[in-house]
């Protein structure tokens, strides 16, 4: 019986390194260790091409090779017969392997030595398990299908984007036993991702940003593909990615650095999964752990499926908010009566808002807040609609892909975390109200 590679993928993650045997044109064998074998699908695997060595020379003249791979839990050994097809030097698979290799290189003391030149794609011609004793594997830590079923059921009951985000993070913790999670949304207009929700960190980091294409999260977003790293690597640390990008940014639209990105200082395992709906990137789900090799292929599969469901649900809730009918402004929200005035300063260049000299937020969310507060001070207006914001020329939303509802959630959460006495709350589909606890003094510039 021919085995399916998807059922033995735990052998490929390199706990016990694989071996590749090749032959040259004259029939001279060669044997080498493999840094990485990547599952592609049931007919293909990819091997990392790092050096132009004897293995490389041999596969170019004799494409059929054999691999020996070992299950690190059961000691079962498998011989794969493969045929080299072609090499990819960019794209999702290449980036997945490049990131994984950076972790392996760091773990094995080979940082700076291992460099992915290509992802060699092989067709699987056969898989054979070698005879011999094997150990009984320990039971899995969780049943992924059950976790996924329960989670998607729970997501389906959410009535708003806020409730959806909270439920999604609850599910990751209670159903998948994942304790360090961030959900970042894609800001297409500004080429970055901003944190909208997180769990497991001392500070939520809501509003913090990471550049598109930088670090595990940014590369996941750019390639719209999951990125999974099993060992700590400085090369993909997001702190460094943020610093590099901030240094390169212009002043007008600099990366958000005043709000630190949450994160484990010593993350050893990282998994970033794209949140996509209708082929459009909405955001990234990021998970991390202090343990080596915490995430496997099954975690990746389950979380990709979870993120797909979450993406459709986010898309649905944003559409619902956009389609809601605008009501006439009734403007009976909470209005301040007395107390010390709160100074709200606005800087138009970056749409930054400061409350009593303390930075709050910038960008689209900053522009939205300034428009709301300006209307409140000028006309005592407290009721607003998503539709109204979209038409408001002061806000300059980048377009239909602006995730307006997500930006309102971001603003609502930043205000709540600051406890500055300015509140936003939903009053219905596509509608929300502003409440202010004390007098405001607005200062432009």
């Amino acid at each position: 019986m021919n085995l399916r590679i998807e059922t033995i993928r735990e052998c490929l993650d390199g706990v016990i390194p694989g071996l590749i045997a090749t032959c040259d044109g004259e029939g001279v064998p060669n044997l080498a260790y493999l840094s990485q074998v990547q599952f592609v699908d049931n007919q293909h695997v990819a091997l990392s091409y790092q050096f132009f060595n004897r293995t490389r020379q041999n596969i170019l003249v004799n494409a059929r090779v054999r691999l020996l791979t070992t299950n690190p839990l059961t000691a079962a050994q498998y011989v794969l017969t493969l045929e080299y097809l072609h090499t990819e030097t960019s794209g999702p698979l290449f980036e997945q392997m490049k990131a994984k290799l950076a972790g392996i290189a760091s773990h094995t003391g080979m940082a700076g030595v291992f460099h992915l030149r290509g992802a060699d794609i092989y067709r699987i011609l056969g898989i054979e398990q070698l005879p011999g004793p094997t150990l009984t594997p320990p039971p899995p830590s969780l049943n992924y299908l059950t976790a996924l079923r329960r989670s998607t059921n729970r997501l389906a009951t959410c009535a708003s984007l806020t409730s959806l985000l909270d439920t999604a993070l609850d599910c990751l913790e209670s159903e998948f036993a994942l304790h360090h999670v961030m959900l970042l949304m894609h800001d297409e207009g500004r080429g970055r991702l901003y944190t909208l929700a997180s769990r497991g960190y001392p500070e939520s980091g809501v509003g913090s940003e990471i550049p598109f294409g930088a670090g595990v999260i940014g590369i996941c977003a750019r390639e719209k593909t999951p990125i999974r790293i099993g060992f700590m690597t400085k090369e993909y640390a997001y702190g460094r990615a943020i610093r590099d990008s901030a240094a390169a940014d212009g002043m007008a639209d600099a990366l958000e650095t005043a709000i630190p990105l949450p994160g484990l200082p010593e993350a050893r395992s990282q998994l970033a999964v794209p949140i996509v709906a209708h082929d459009r990137l909405l955001g990234v789900l990021y998970l991390e752990s202090v343990a080596d090799l915490h995430f496997g292929y099954d975690d990746e599969d389950a979380l990709v499926a979870f993120a797909a469901h979450l993406g459709m649900a986010i898309h649905y809730h944003q559409q619902v908010e956009e389609l809601a009918e605008e009501l006439p402004a009734n403007d009976h929200g909470k209005v301040e009566s007395s107390g010390q005035p709160l100074l709200v300063r606005y800087f138009a260049g970056s749409d930054s808002i400061f409350l009593d000299d303390d930075y709050l937020i910038k960008g689209v969310a900053g522009a939205i807040l300034w428009a709301l507060l300006s209307d409140f001070v000028a006309r005592r207006r407290t009721s607003f609609t998503n539709k109204g914001l979209r038409l408001d020329s002061r806000i300059r939303l980048p377009g239909v892909s602006d995730n307006l509802e997500a930006r309102l959630v971001l603003l609502q959460r930043r205000l709540a975390e600051r406890g500055a006495g300015i509140h936003l709350h939903k009053t219905g589909r596509g509608r929300f109200a502003l409440a202010v606890d004390q007098p405001l003094q607005l200062l432009d510039g």
């Binding site: 706990v15 016990i16 071996l19 045997a21 090749t22 032959c23 029939g27 001279v28 064998p29 060669n30 044997l31 080498a32 260790y33 840094s35 050096f51 060595n53 004897r54 004799n62 059929r64 090779v65 054999r66 020996l68 070992t70 690190p72 839990l73 059961t74 000691a75 050994q77 011989v79 017969t81 094995t108 003391g109 080979m110 030595v113 291992f114 070698l130 005879p131 011999g132 004793p133 094997t134 150990l135 080596d292």
Partner: protein, 158 residues
């Protein structure tokens, strides 16, 4: 061919694996359970579990070509030896202590890598009556320690 340093190296707690080439130019490979030096270091004997690799032993009997890799996991130091005169010989039970000692050393070597003893013992389980020795004279040697000098010939005809 095998200098004193490498001769000593292959007798440390290294992982040992062997590959051959079939008549159809399709390779075969397997792990070995130990090794010893023969003929004053001019030949190397590799101990194999014959039940795991009938095709590999058939290749040796056909063309006598082998590639053998020795790797020390803790340092990544890796050496490949090639031979063109390999032969499959009966196993001498007097060499059993060599294998036992090698496996015990290897258990200690890979424990920091997170590989438990039970896995090592299962992976290298053998019945003494199933063992054979493949003996060959190294005709080429290559350093395969990852890095800029990986693959460099350190003796013989590449």
């Amino acid at each position: 061919m095998l200098d004193a340093d490498n001769a000593a190296f292959i007798q440390t707690s290294v992982s040992i694996s062997l590959a051959t080439c079939g008549v159809d130019h399709l390779p075969n490979l397997m792990r070995a359970v130990g090794c010893k030096l023969l003929d004053g270091g001019r030949r190397v004997g590799i101990f194999l579990n014959a039940t795991l690799a009938p095709a590999l032993l058939a290749d040796i009997r056909t063309n006598r070509r082998v590639a053998c890799v020795f790797c020390l996991p803790s340092s990544n130091r890796t050496l490949q030896l090639k031979g063109e005169d390999a032969e499959v010989l009966p196993f001498d039970p007097a060499d059993l202590p060599l294998i036992a000692e090698h496996l015990a050393d290897f258990v200690v070597e890979v424990a920091p890598e997170g590989v438990p003893e039970s896995v090592v013992r299962t992976l290298f389980a053998y019945r003494p009556d199933a063992l054979v020795m493949v003996a060959f004279s190294p005709c080429a040697a290559f350093s395969q320690t990852p890095g800029p000098r990986a693959g460099q010939s350190i003796g013989g005809t590449p």
